[in-house]
């Protein structure tokens, strides 16, 4: 890449001799225009972000203070204000609505921690294993990226087929071939659904970690490894003392992104279980979707979404503060 850039440079700098007289005036008008230019360039992105993300977010916060049921969908501004009612309903953990939300929240936290941990572990291990060149490495790398490249619904629907009770691969292998279970298990309902969801999520998510760590590894200077090898450090030591510490900046962002994506993931559980998720795998985004669209109670759904956002903001803030400080002290 750098080579294309430098040849470009060579080609362009030849024609550098612009008339000097015209340059002065052009630069003055140019500077005037330039003051507004960056804003002009940012305008389309700003308008779209405002329209699709920020304005709806504000509307969502307003909605969470309204009694917004199916009767007010046509003209939601006429819905009566309800103060904090939607919030008190959501966090009243003794009542059914709040209890279900708390349960869903806890399931999501457990699921996210496990999924992010496994995705990171597998992705990093695979990236380190493939740091060397060996025969078939390019092919293997392409294969490993397939789960990431597949559209979510196509991949997850295949897993749905594999998890079928009567004609699925998983039961065929575990029960018919390995005789590990007494009778074929149900994977998409009941307690097992948590593990089914986790499996699919890790299968789908680890290649992203692999991709990012692989990119991060390319920025580690080879001299470090060579120096360590001369000092007599073996491969395991090199991984522990060079590779992993060098990845800390990459990991800081990677883990956060994985966490947010997994926590907010809707596509995987929705395709895996349909509109109503089993209790053991009732992830929060599907839960809120159900609370809003199945029961048409948008006010409570919005309040739950706002609470979710506040939680994510809090976690992100604390995470960034802690990891940034950790990295700064470790560098000193």
């Amino acid at each position: 890449m750098t080579t294309t850039v430098s040849t470009e440079a060579g080609g362009r700098t030849v024609r550098k001799d612009a008339p000097g007289a015209a340059r002065g005036s052009r630069r003055r008008t140019g500077r005037l225009r330039r003051a507004g230019l960056p804003y002009f360039l940012l305008l389309p992105a700003l308008i779209l972000e405002l329209l699709v993300h920020l304005v709806p977010m504000v509307i969502g916060i307003v909605m969470s203070f309204k009694e917004l049921t199916q009767f007010f969908i046509r003209d939601w501004s006429t819905a009566p204000w309800s103060g904090l009612d939607n919030y008190t309903v959501s966090v009243d953990f003794d009542a059914p609505v709040g209890e279900a939300l708390l349960h869903s929240f806890l399931v999501t936290v457990a699921f996210t921690l496990l999924s992010v941990g496994l995705c990171w572990l597998i992705g990093t291990a695979a990236a380190i294993c493939m740091q060397d060149t060996f025969r078939g490495r390019g092919l293997l790398r392409a294969l490993f990226l397939v789960p990431y490249a597949l559209p979510v619904y196509a991949a997850v629907i295949t897993w749905v087929f594999m998890f079928q009770h009567d004609n699925g691969l998983v039961n065929h292998v575990l029960h018919d071939q390995l005789h590990l279970t007494d009778k074929p298990s149900f994977w998409l309902i009941g307690d097992n659904s948590f593990y089914a969801l986790l499996t699919v999520s890790v299968w789908k998510g680890w290649p992203f970690a692999f991709l990012i760590v692989m990119a991060g590894l390319q920025n580690i200077p080879r001299e470090l490894y060579e120096a360590a090898a001369l000092d007599g450090a073996g491969v395991w030591k090199q991984i522990r003392h060079i590779t992993l510490p060098s990845l800390s900046a990459v990991n800081q962002v990677l883990v956060l992104v994985l966490f947010l994506w997994t926590f907010n993931d809707f596509n995987t559980p929705y395709v895996l279980f349909g509109r109503t998720a089993p209790e053991a795998a009732d992830l929060i985004s599907v839960h809120i979707y159900q609370a809003s669209f199945v029961t048409w109670n948008f006010g409570t759904g919005s309040a739950m979404s706002v609470l979710l956002l506040l939680f994510l903001l809090l976690v992100t803030g604390v995470y960034l503060a802690v990891t940034s400080r950790g990295r700064r002290t470790s560098r000193v």
Binding site: A9, R12, F144, N264, N267, F298
Partner: protein
């Protein structure tokens, strides 16, 4: 590490071999199920799972087009994902150029705000956006809800933050002297962008386009709420095979394969750009 003077201990070599083999199996299992089941007769996928088909048939690949209007969904997905990609890339190029080349007030606020939209739960703005589109439609007659336009608009903002972020890093790696030379040559700022910076950053732009297309092609949540019979995309349309009385698993697998091929093929062809783009842009 490969050229390091020290030979790798066999413990490392064996751990690596076993781990990579197991991982390959895990990754390929669903792919195998998808491909093999799509070539099986219906009896094979309705009864006990079989590793090998009792007989190969291409029947599912013919039937998928008539069981549900797959071609229509396919067309809708192509239009939506294609348009969202083109718009997203063009807008991201402008924004990244502004951030990379100019100092202006509010620069940090802009980048932080745009990036932080990535962390919003989709469900938070799904409901308001749904109402917003319905109300815009009622007020102005511009049909955003249920139309491809609304979906394009929504999807392009999904890939925008990450695209801008990645392109900023990419544009930063293009030497400033290049566009300064172009400016001196008499190009306007936009001329410098399109004649110098963009050509030098093609791999990054390709990577961003791949990412934007995949994002739009695979999205389920908004597609399930914001489309109707005429504008349904593959993400929702594929569920049509399983809502029928009999679940035609062989057809579902065939259809999944058919809708995956364009993205997976494109991704695998262009993945080295994505890796290079991530190395230059995101991971720094």
């Amino acid at each position: 590490m490969s050229d390091s003077p020290m030979a790798q201990p066999s413990s490392f070599v064996w751990t690596r071999r076993v781990f990579l083999t197991l991982l390959t199996g895990f990754v390929l299992l669903p792919v195998y199920v998808m491909i093999s089941s799509s070539l099986k007769p219906l009896a094979d996928v309705s009864g006990k799972f079989r590793w090998l088909p009792s007989g190969l048939t291409i029947r599912p690949y013919i039937d998928i087009w008539s069981t549900v209007p797959l071609a229509k969904y396919f067309g809708n997905s192509l239009i939506v994902a294609g348009a969202a990609t083109v718009c997203s890339v063009v807008i991201a190029v402008f924004s990244a150029y502004a951030v990379s080349r100019y100092e202006f007030r509010g620069k940090r606020v802009f980048t932080v705000t745009v990036l932080s939209t990535q962390m919003f739960p989709g469900i938070l703005f799904l409901l308001p956006l749904f109402l917003l589109y319905v109300n815009i439609g009622n007020a102005t007659g511009i049909a955003l809800f249920g139309s491809r336009g609304g979906l394009i608009l929504t999807y392009l903002t999904f890939s925008l933050p990450f695209s801008i972020w990645m392109l900023i890093g990419y544009f930063d790696s293009v030497p400033r002297e290049l566009d300064e030379a172009a400016l001196v040559d008499g190009c306007g700022p936009l001329g410098a962008l399109f004649r110098v910076v963009v050509p030098a950053a093609i791999p990054g732009i390709v990577a961003v386009a791949v990412y934007a297309f995949m994002t739009a092609w695979g999205e389920v949540l908004f597609a399930s709420v914001m489309t109707n019979d005429a504008t349904r995309t593959l993400a929702v349309g594929l569920q049509g095979y399983s809502t029928l009385n009999d679940v035609y698993w062989n057809q579902i697998m065939a259809a999944s394969l058919v809708v995956s091929v364009p993205v997976v093929a494109g991704f695998l062809l262009l993945q080295r750009y994505l890796v290079a783009g991530l190395t230059a842009g995101a991971v720094k």
